[in-house]
């Protein structure tokens, strides 16, 4: 293990903080849950880094993230559902036209509320693949299921979404 192969937790925070935040945001549609998850995950990463064995860092990190997320869900189970995020939470990149902004918000709200209707396993697989950008192998490692299961979940998730979205999108 060298200093180059094991990042510091600050490095992890800066490199992955935004991904972790978006992972939770898309799974819950809720900025508070997303913020909680970032804090909890970084705490666990900080504790866990000293025992990290070089291997698939992404798999390791996202397994921690996902477990932190599920533990958080279990703790908060009785909390009432929060409203969907407002449009002004969206960060839309470099100055698109007002029309583009509006249609983009409408579409992303559409996709977001459809995501929230997916069964958890499908939603998780789709978010890890399409929002976080992990490979099937990394998702399998993070979620502790065979790659074939990952492939089937991603497809079934997208297929369900397809049925919920308003076409043409």
């Amino acid at each position: 293990m060298t200093d180059e192969s094991t990042p510091t937790w600050e490095d992890v925070a800066h490199r992955y903080g935004r991904k972790i935040y978006n992972f939770a945001y898309r799974l819950t549609g809720n900025p508070d849950d997303a913020a909680d998850l970032v804090q909890e995950t970084l705490l666990r990463v900080r504790k866990g880094l000293s025992s990290y064995q070089p291997g698939s860092f992404e798999g390791w990190l996202w397994r921690i993230t996902r477990n932190a997320f599920l533990d958080g869900i279990r703790r908060k189970k009785r909390r009432p559902e929060s409203a969907l995020p407002e449009g002004d939470h969206h960060s839309l990149g470099s100055s698109p036209s007002p029309d583009e902004v509006l249609s983009s918000i409408r579409l992303s709200d559409d996709v977001q509320s459809a995501l929230l209707k997916l069964p958890y396993e499908f939603r998780e697989a789709v978010v890890l693949c399409d929002v976080v950008g992990l490979s099937y192998d990394e998702i399998a490692e993070a979620t502790d299921v065979p790659v074939g299961t990952v492939r089937s979940r991603i497809h079934r998730g997208r297929k369900l979404l397809r049925g919920m979205l308003t076409w043409p999108i």
């Binding site: 600050e10 903080g17 935004r18 935040y21 099937y136 497809h155 997208r158």
Partner: protein
């Protein structure tokens, strides 16, 4: 090859995985054959592609800055003064120092503090009782430093720097070269911060 009949239940999954670039070459061949053979397959493929694209085009939220460490150098400053950073991190730290007045000021204070500490008679033996025979391993030292917090270590060091004297002109390259030279010329020099950190509560 026998003609494949497109079955959404059976083959849809191949389309999804194809879009993700996760198929074996022989599976890719099946996808191509299905797309050649049926309008229904092409339509299914297009729907899946658009759905996937809509997901991937979801705007990314900025993580609130308050959730992340502030990005300053913290306990890396001491290691920097010791000339102990590996070259990659050394470059990163130097780059940050060029841009960040806060960290430059902290580095300067740490530097003055350590000069003051080093000028105390016998300090290297009184802090821990003896000069360590071998350096504390890098890994452990970082954990100790992280555990007590950079600010605690800095406060301890600065606390010893009574009567700091005139404001020196701060030249980064200068300081850098001076400390690398000193760390290599005086073997005991590099051990000092770790022994102070270990002695802290």
């Amino acid at each position: 090859m026998a003609d494949l009949i497109f079955d959404p239940e059976e083959h849809g999954e191949l389309f999804s995985a194809y879009l993700d670039g996760q198929l074996t070459p022989s599976e890719v061949a099946i996808v191509c054959e299905l797309l050649d053979g049926s309008e229904e397959a092409i339509e299914e493929f297009r729907y899946l592609r658009s759905t996937r694209r809509a997901l991937r085009l979801l705007p990314e939220f900025e993580v609130p800055a308050a959730l992340l460490p502030d990005g300053h150098l913290g306990d890396r400053l001491s290691a920097y003064l010791d000339g102990e950073l590996v070259s990659l991190e050394h470059r990163r730290v130097t780059k940050h120092l060029v841009d960040c007045a806060d960290c430059r000021a902290e580095l300067q204070e740490l530097d003055r503090a350590r000069i003051a500490v080093r000028s105390l008679p016998g300090v290297e033996t009184t802090m821990t009782g003896e000069i360590p025979a071998t350096p504390v391993p890098r890994r452990r030292r970082r954990i100790i430093a992280g555990a007590i917090g950079a600010s605690a270590a800095a406060a301890l060091l600065v606390g010893l720097a009574v009567g700091g004297g005139d404001e020196p002109v701060f030249v980064l390259d200068d300081l850098n070269a001076r400390h690398v030279a000193r760390a290599s010329a005086e073997p005991g020099f590099a051990f000092l911060p770790s022994t102070i950190e270990v002695a802290a509560p």
